[in-house]
Symmetry: C2
Subunit: 298 residues, 2 copies
């Protein structure tokens, strides 16, 4: 006869699981925070000029304590019957009425006193929304959700020697604004090189109408977005189905925060896109060809 194996208490796996008491350990709350980015066109009165673009992020105004009246990342508690990613998709849907979008897990924030209510561990997800789908939103006026233009600014840097390496502190200012509001925050990024080990840490120095530690999360996301746009194809998640190469280049430029040379840029993306026969016309200058993403691109 084949007996199932038992543990030190003489229990089989089935018995063990039946008696398992999950409430014996104190447990934290778990939430997801959504970083929903898009690139939108600004108004340009001169019909012959191109409209400049801006990077935008969706924030919601907090209706209750804590940080009442401040702006926060959309998000909420993870319920027991959904995975983290399902919770993120649910939040995305209720905030923007958009699904089937680029979604990527960013980081999990686990400091003890992030939230004054109770211990909250929060996993942040970055979503990229294309500028045309953006119009779709507007259904959820129950909550006060608004798009903010976002920009960061290098403030200053400070490098010190230690016994075994160096410490570099960098201050970065974030600004968020739209027609009605203007928020800001200052983040200090500390990079410690000690022997062969490099460690990086972020700290909020000052935060102006931005709730919790969310400014820190946004700064981190911005950095990740900048890195990833260089070596992956996430930029296309911000584009509509058809786009011109100049529009694509504008998206790169607004994320990287610097101008690119058209010739080199076109060479770089050449085999990631497919030419179409359509042109953007009536613009007062040479019409530009529309392209689409090339999914075959390895």
């Amino acid at each position: 006869m084949n007996q199932p194996p038992t543990n030190k208490d003489g229990l089989t796996e089935e018995q063990f699981l039946q008696r398992y008491d999950a409430s014996q350990f104190e447990r934290p709350s778990v939430t997801v925070d959504m970083l929903i980015f898009t690139v939108a066109e600004e108004l340009e009165p001169n019909y012959r000029k191109l409209s400049p673009k801006s990077l935008q992020i969706l924030l919601v105004k907090r209706a209750d304590h804590p940080y009442m009246g401040h702006w926060a990342l959309p998000g909420g508690f993870v319920s027991p019957d959904e995975s983290l990613e399902e919770a993120a998709l649910r939040e995305l849907w209720t905030e923007t009425n958009i699904d089937n979008i680029y979604l990527e897990q960013l980081y999990t924030w686990g400091e003890v006193n992030r939230d004054p209510r109770t211990r909250v561990i929060s996993t942040s997800y970055m979503a990229l929304v294309d500028s045309e789908a953006l119009e779709v939103k507007a259904g959820n006026d129950a909550e006060d959700a608004k798009w903010f233009r976002i920009e960061d600014k290098w403030l200053r840097e400070n490098k010190m020697a230690t016994e075994s390496g160096t410490i570099t502190e960098k201050w970065v200012e974030l600004r968020f604004w739209n027609e009605a509001e203007e928020l800001s925050a200052t983040i200090k990024i500390t990079r410690t090189v000690s022997g062969r080990i490099v460690r990086e840490e972020r700290e909020i120095v000052e935060t102006n109408q931005v709730a919790f530690d969310h400014a820190k999360i946004i700064q981190y996301a911005l950095e990740r977005l900048r890195n990833k746009i260089e070596y992956t194809d996430i930029a296309f998640a911000l584009m509509p189905e058809l786009f011109t190469l100049t529009e694509l280049q504008q998206v790169y430029e607004v994320i990287l925060g610097k101008e690119l040379l058209a010739a080199a840029f076109r060479r770089k993306v050449a085999d990631k896109v497919i030419e179409t026969n359509h042109y953007r016309k009536h613009a007062g200058h040479r019409p530009s060809k529309y392209y689409r993403f090339n999914p075959e691109w390895t």
Copy 2:
């Protein structure tokens, strides 16, 4: 007089926090899992030849249900008064008696049924340990922790068309072994390209003596390690204080799973290292210069 703002229930922030009942929502358990890697030398009887190296990972044998007798990643519950990173450092210390090491958050795994006991959300951290510090370990024989050589093998790939893109499935086999044990697992990685959106998913097809979904986590870590070694300096975290360029190259080779050309490799790392005046001698061939990491390298 300046009254503090109150919410819709007429409560100030202080009153709100006093009455906040954290137990109103059902909460998951949160754990950290540690992926502790090192690169160790294999035995080479011929004194004139270089010893080959192998990538190794630390696993612990489970003493209780579930997965009793299987091997798992070291880790444990996050207690209410410690941050995620503190929990990771604590686990690292109790498993290896090593601190001040490269530590990086990898990913948070949030599937609903990862653990048969209860809902468990787990944040995995990758730690890189240098091969000399490795000797330090051996204190913690309470638990059965062992180093395993690790290798992965590409098995097969399957690409299909869908209405809006493609699905690529890739099967990878992981093998873990040491003098006493041999474990294995097969992971299926599904890459879905749909429009401009690319998504990637991992699934365990088969797992042989590897507990929970840990084979999937390890496969993910291996991929991340391979990527990061190309564009960051994490390789140095695996090196002792002084090393030869050939040793450094061996570490790259064993992680990338391919041979590199010495000339190009030396050029690439040239400004990340500092020459010393010491040589490795008595090796039956031209002595090699020792180098150290250059922390000034930007």
